[in-house]
Amino acid sequence: MNDILKNSVLLLTVCMLASLFFICQTTFSNLIWLYHKGMPVSAGIAVTTILSDLIGMNTRGEFPIIVIISAVLLIAFFAARIVLIWIQIEQKYLYALAGAVSILVLLVSIPNFFYGLELIAGARTYLGKFILTCSGYLSGYVFGINLCRSES
């Protein structure tokens, strides 16, 4: 029971971490472009925009980003857990791979579900997709490592 609770908290933490990456990447991709266009982007504006996006992308959007990411990572980690029964591989790498693949699939799928529209602004470029996929990898890696520790 204690392990289930621990793992649930771990999963939630990892999902929050991935969501934070998503939001910050979107915010910065917007702010960097604005800065290059000569808009007065200061450190203060960057901080308030990130805070606004943290709230906005979870409350004001068409979908709460943390719910989507949590659902995707949950499915990916569950699949990884099953794969681990048959394949001998360090689980931190498998979870990392699962996290990366799931986020990449999410990013590629969104335009297919929404008429070719990229609803995550930060994912409109290949670089953006790569960075967000890395966030999935990192989240899975953190999950895998900490799962290892709690199980050992």
């Binding site: 917007n30 604005l34 007065p40 996006d53 906005g56 992308m57 004001r60 959007g61 008429y115 070719g116």
Partner: protein, 378 residues
């Protein structure tokens, strides 16, 4: 306390002054079961042309929808927001019979890409003849969205075309080497007028007339043709009504009153020197879909007002304008739902196209004293 009373009465006075009484009117359905009607043009009091986004150009003659669509309309891309869009008449239509159509079209040999295209054709005997391309937006886009696609002839005979930002590459609205998020100005044969603001400028396309727009679906000339009104869809909030001027930057997406559909900020800025402010904006969005300036006599108290059709929640906005500022707004025709297009018939009645797969064309006329079967807005 005295000041509070004074303030209250002043507010009452001002609100009464700007909300002039609405006219009595009645609805008359003149065509039904149109597939996604997008635009209509009145040739005469008895003949209208209507575009269906699926790719058909229909005729309404003497109150009857012709079952046969107009021949010669090019194949369009009917997908998402794309399809056959605007139809307008040449200012000298009576002599040359030219009509202009805007639509989305796939790239030849590359169906994953598409663009906004404008053609001109001679409308005769229920067919289009002598079709030429007037404008084709560059570059091609992937998503079938945000075409703009509205057209308007100015008093000098040049044609304005709204070319939307294509959704995904929205930042391109701020650079002049492409047609995304731009108002285009061409002559009636598609050539570039030599008075265009960016003509001869390095890295700028010569057809561009103004930039920094999003998805502009309304264009209207004000009284005497001196003021050009333009409206555009904002993202989540931030729909704008602008006064268009040559060579100006309207800010999108560097400044906006809206946020992204994801809930993220598109920009923390709403104003910036060198970028134009809207004369009105809507938060939340009303999704303005077309616009017309009313200058006829059928509805005397509406004369000089702007009418905007809106898709969300679905109504028509009557805007009172004074000195280039919006001083009053009235919501009309809510019972009709999503209104895709509004225009004025030659007799001064308003013609509306309702949105959807079973769209209707509805005429709004002044109440006739002899008409006993209707009440205001019925």
């Amino acid at each position: 306390m005295k000041h509070a009373y004074c303030l209250f009465f002043m507010i009452l006075l001002v609100s009464n002054a700007i909300a002039s009484p609405s006219e009595d009117y009645r609805f008359e359905t003149i065509a039904s079961d149109l597939e996604h009607p997008w635009s209509l043009a009145a040739i005469s009091d008895s003949e209208y042309l209507v575009t269906e986004r699926v790719g058909r150009l229909r005729r309404i003659i003497d109150g009857q929808l012709d079952s046969k669509s107009v021949d010669g309309v090019p194949k369009v891309l009917f997908k998402t927001q794309g399809g056959l869009s605007d139809v307008i008449l040449h200012p000298n239509f009576a002599e040359n019979r030219y009509i202009y159509l805007s639509f989305s079209e796939t790239k030849l040999g590359t169906p994953s890409l598409n663009t906004l295209k404008i053609i001109r054709g001679r409308y005769e005997d229920g067919s289009l003849h002598d079709i030429i391309t007037i404008f084709s937006a560059k570059p091609f886009r992937k998503a079938a969205a945000h075409y703009g696609a509205r057209m308007l002839f100015l008093n000098d005979g040049t044609l304005l075309i709204t070319s939307g930002d294509a959704f995904n590459p929205r930042e391109k609205a701020q650079t002049l080497d492409n047609h995304f998020g731009k108002v285009i100005r061409v002559n009636d044969d598609g050539s570039v007028p030599d008075t265009n603001p960016f003509l001869g400028q390095k890295d700028a396309l010569p057809e561009i007339w103004s930039y920094g727009h999003r998805n502009m679906q309304g264009l209207a000339l004000g009284k005497g043709g001196k003021i050009i009104f333009e409206h555009e869809h904002g993202p989540k909030g931030g729909d704008e009504l602008n006064i268009l001027k040559s060579g100006l930057n309207y800010g999108w997406p560097a400044i906006t009153y809206g946020i992204d559909y994801s809930g993220a900020m598109i920009s923390p800025f709403t104003e910036r020197a060198g970028m134009e402010q809207p004369i009105k904006y809507w938060v939340p969005s009303i999704a303005p879909s077309s616009m017309v300036f009313y200058d006829k006599d059928m509805f005397p108290t509406w004369k000089g007002n702007l009418f905007l059709s809106a898709l969300v929640p679905g109504d028509v906005r009557r805007l009172s304008i004074s000195d280039g500022k919006v001083i009053g707004e009235e919501i009309l025709f809510e019972e009709l739902g999503r209104v895709r297009h509004i225009t004025v018939a030659l007799d001064g009645s308003l013609l509306l196209a309702t949105d959807g797969p079973k769209g209707q064309i509805i005429r709004v006329s002044a109440r006739d004293a002899s008409d006993k079967n209707w009440a205001s807005g019925e």
